[in-house]
Each structure stands twice: as C-alpha cells, then as structure tokens.
C-alpha cells in the first residue's frame, strides 16, 4: 500500500517535471538545427552557437542583466530583511498600513511600475545616460517587497521568545539579531535573495521603460524576436543559460549537503564523547 503510494507520488512529480522541462528540451534541440528560424528541423549544425557568440548585442545585454540582477538583489535583500524585522515588531495597525504600501509594487502591473518610474526619473532629471543607475534603482524597488514577504512568514513562524531570551542572557539587541533572529529566518532571506535575483533577471517591462540605451537580455530578446520569429540564436542562448543555471544550482546544493553531513558527523562524535 505504502509502496503504491510512493510510486504514484513519484509518477506525479515526474509528470510535472516533464511539463516543466519538455519545452526547454525542445528549445535546446532546436538550437542544433541548421536554420536561422526555429520553426523546422534542417539538419544538425552548431551555426546557432556561432551566430550567438558573434553577436555583440547579446554579450552586452548579458552583462547588463547580470550586473543589475546582482547589485539590485543584494541591495533589496539587505533593505528588505531589515525592513521585515522592523515591521514584525511594529504595532498591528502601523504594520498593516506599511504592509499594504509595501504590496504596492507587487500589486502594480510591472509595466506601470516601469512607466511610473520613467515619469519619476524624468521629473528628478536622472538622465537616460545613467541607464545602469536607473535600472538598479527600479529593480531594487520592485525586489524589496518580495524579500520582505519571503522573510515575514519566517518571522511569524519563529518565536519572539528566542530574541528576548538572547537579550536576557546578555546579548545586545544587535547581537541578538545577528546571532538568533537572522539564523532563524535564514531560509526566508535566502529564498528572498534567490527570488529577487530571479525576478531581476526575468524582468522585462520595468527595464523596457527605465533602461534607455542600457539594454538587458529581456529587452534584447523582445526587440529581436518581435522583428522576425524565433531565431535559433535564442535557442542556443536558452541552452547555455540552462546549463549554467543547472550547474550553479547543483554546485551550491552539493556544497551545502556536504557541510551538513560534516556537521552531523561532528555532532555524533560529540555525543559519543559525552
């Protein structure tokens, strides 16, 4: 009975994974066709990759995307975590008010965020020469709420008594924060950071209206694919992106598993000694 349940569970997961990966697999497959357009198979070749590496626009856009994603997600994580901790100890009424305002950028259609930002930048005279700065400000702004709402549930689940106990045991408020609260909500912070990074990399609409001459990958893909169907160049780009992301995630995960294993063994030794 239990075995059957496990088989069913695995089968279900397998189906969902298939749904998630089949499109990507097809796209990767099409990156090896000998044709400019990804609509039909015309024999095997690496032409799409050659074209991709020759494309300076793609390289420039990749740099913009990464720079903006890294800087804005780190900024958003710092500001967002601090804000979430602050919000958690607010009185209920003021917290509700701040929470609803914080939700604004999430509630907002991203294109309206982009347009409103553009209006703001025009108003304060932040020149479109400074595309990087405009993109980083805009991305940080829409990332902060996502960090806050990743951290807040963790804060709700964690007990305030831990913080009080740490203070009773002689920690300063800052020490109590760093040594007790932050480790307790770390999964939330990490998923917030990951989410912020992902959203920044994925963003198209906000960037479109704020980036100006500074184009990220989404803006480039949109301007290129709107001009002529699906170029196999972008299938090649997807394939490479997939590889990099998979390798990166696997690496991070294996490292953390190894560390946990070591920690567990350490614990066992300590237990035996005592």
């Amino acid at each position: 009975m239990k075995k059957l349940g496990n088989v069913l569970k695995s089968a279900y997961l397998g189906l969902v994974v298939l749904f998630m990966y089949l499109p990507i697999a097809i796209m990767i497959g099409m990156s090896f066709t000998d044709s400019r357009s990804a609509t039909q198979w015309r024999g095997f070749s690496f032409n799409a990759y050659v074209n991709l590496f020759k494309d300076r626009d793609v390289r420039d856009a990749l740099i913009v995307t990464l720079t903006v994603a890294v800087i804005s997600s780190i900024l958003a994580t710092i500001i967002g975590t601090a804000t979430a901790i602050g919000m958690h100890s607010m009185k209920k009424r003021s917290r509700t008010i701040v929470e609803s305002f914080t939700q604004l950028p999430m509630v907002n259609p991203d294109l309206v965020t982009g347009i409103s930002m553009m209006l703001l930048f025009a108003f304060i005279g932040l020149s479109s020469d400074l595309g990087y700065l405009r993109l980083i400000i805009a991305h940080t702004t829409f990332n902060i709420p996502y960090v806050i709402f990743s951290v807040l549930p963790k804060l709700r689940q964690s007990s305030d008594m831990l913080y009080e106990a740490a203070m009773d045991l002689g920690c300063s408020p800052l020490q109590a924060l760093i040594k007790v609260v932050i480790p307790d909500i770390m999964p939330g912070i990490v998923s917030g950071l990951i989410l912020a990074f992902t959203l920044s990399i994925d963003d198209f609409a906000v960037s479109l209206f704020t980036g100006g001459a500074t184009k990220n990958l989404s803006m480039l893909i949109f301007s290129k694919t709107a001009k002529g169907g699906v170029n196999t160049k972008f299938c090649a780009l997807s394939a490479l992106m997939f590889l990099v992301v998979a390798a990166l995630l696997l690496f991070i995960n294996l490292r953390s598993m190894k560390q946990e294993k070591e920690a567990a063994e350490q614990n066992k030794k300590v237990m035996r000694k005592s």
Binding site: Y12, L13, V16, V17, M20, P23, I24, I26, M27, M30, A38, G80, A82, T83, I85, G86, M87, S89, M90, V98, T102, V107, N108, P109, L111, V112, T113, I115, S116, M117, L119, L120, I137, I144, Y146, F149, P153, R156, Q157, P187, S191, I194, L195, F197, T198, F204, A205, F209, S218, I221, F222, T225, A226, V230, F234, S238, M241, V245, N253, S256
Partner: protein, 261 residues
C-alpha cells in the same frame, strides 16, 4: 522595541520616493490633461464596453492560472516536504531551475511548440504558457512553509486517532495557508498584468488588459497616456481588492489556528 527602526530607511525614504511618488504621477496623468483636471479619460474607459473584453480576458486567464498552478503545485510541494531532507533539496532544484531562466525565452519555447501543434493565437496558448511561466512561483513558497511545519503536530494528530485525510485537512493545510497566500499572490498579480506572453502568443486574437496599457503608454501622446493611466488604475484597484480578500482568508485562518493549539 528598537527593532522597529530597522524599517525606517525603507518606510520613510525609499517608499515615498520610489513607490508612492511614481504612483501619484500615474494618477496625475489619469486625471489631468495639460495641467487641467479632467474626467475625460475616466469617461472614455467606463463609458462603453470597449475595454470590457480585455478586462475579462485578463481576469479569467489570471484566475484560471492561479487555480491550476495551485492544483498542480500544492501536491508537488506536499510530496517534496515529505521526502527525506536531502532528496527533497535535490528534487526541489528541478522546480527552482526554470525560475532562473529568462521568462521571454521560456515563452519562446512554447511559441515553437504551439506553432507545430497548430494552437498558436488561441486563448489556450496564452493560458498554458502563463501557467508554465508562473508554476514555480506557486511551488516554492508553499514548499518553504510546509518544510518548516512541525512534524510533531502531525504525529500528535495521528496518535490522537486522526486518519491521513483528517490530519492533512486539520493540521497541514491550515498551517500552510501563509505559503498558499504568498504563492497565490506571486502568481495572480503578474498573471493579471502580463502583456509579453499575450503579445508573443496571442496574435491579436487574445488581448489582455496589460497589453492595452502597454500599447497606450508606448504611443507617447498625452491623451493616449491618460487612457493608459486610467486603465492601469483600474487594474491596480482590481488587484488590491483581490489582496484584501486574501488577507481576510489569512486572518480567518490565523485565528482558527490559534484557538486550535
């Protein structure tokens, strides 16, 4: 109590300048033309049924996407949270990975498939790509919440004679509400306002509200931006209403959980 201060830089500096002020600009463009107050754009948006279709399309696609993502995603999160910790960490990577890939590229993948399948430029095409793009955003928050769930509660429920279904409905589900709420928020809001997906796959046969707004803003003339701003405000109000509903759900469940334990 001093912890409150940590939120001051955001609440009193960042938020007023970069969130509230820009929104006021949108409101200004909806209600003013060349510096003069006018209801012209509001009238234009509400006077006839012109924008009703786009509005309806956006609403049903967003609702269907959220419901289907929840239906597909919750069991995934639940199964993951019951796995051995190490296996779960590895398998969950499979669902995080697509989130790291560019959304336009993922949508392009569907364009290739749907073209072959002969289903491009249909509501179904837009729906399936929207579900595909947003599914990971449903799975991850629910999984994170379920993972944190205290397993001793489940054991206690079992010891007290609850069967599997009862345990799930009365212990697991109520405690995962915060995760569901964040998941629904992360799917419904962007699905409601998406325009890239329908631009790429809708072929003008499926027009969404977000697309209407984008077109209005890109055309650049003040009168048209006014209509766009008004539509944007309609969209915002609609999403805020859904937020209020979700907050209610969370609150109700929170007090119930409180009395239970």
């Amino acid at each position: 109590m001093k912890r409150v201060r940590l939120s001051y830089p955001y609440v009193f500096v960042w938020m007023p300048i970069f969130i509230i002020a820009p929104m006021l600009f949108v409101l200004y463009y909806a209600l003013f033309r060349d510096g003069h107050f006018t209801f012209e754009f509001v009238k234009q948006v509400f006077a006839d049924t012109t924008y009703l279709g786009a509005f309806w399309n956006s609403l049903w696609i967003a609702l269907a996407t959220t419901a289907i993502c929840l239906l597909i995603g919750y069991p995934v999160s639940y199964i993951l949270s019951n796995m051995k910790k190490r296996t779960a960490a590895l398998v969950s990577l499979l669902f995080i990975l697509p989130m790291w890939m560019n959304m336009l590229l993922r949508t392009l993948a569907w364009k290739i498939i749907l073209a072959k399948w002969g289903q491009l430029y249909t509501p179904g095409a837009v729906l399936i790509a929207t579900i595909y793009d947003f599914l990971p955003f449903m799975i991850l928050p629910i999984y994170t919440t379920l993972m944190k769930l205290d397993k001793s509660h489940i054991e206690a429920a079992r010891d007290l004679g609850a069967n599997g279904v009862q345990t799930f409905l009365r212990v697991v589900l109520p405690q995962s509400i915060p995760g569901i709420i964040s998941g629904v928020t992360m799917v419904f809001v962007p699905a409601m306002s998406t325009f890239a997906i329908s631009t790429m796959l809708g072929g003008g046969e499926v027009v969404l509200l977000g697309q209407k707004i984008e077109e209005k803003f890109l055309s650049g003339s003040p009168g048209v931006i006014g209509v766009g701003s008004t539509l944007a405000i309609v969209l915002i109000i609609l999403v805020i209403i859904s937020m209020i509903i979700m907050n209610k759900v969370e609150k109700n469940n929170g007090t119930e959980g409180g009395t239970l334990w």
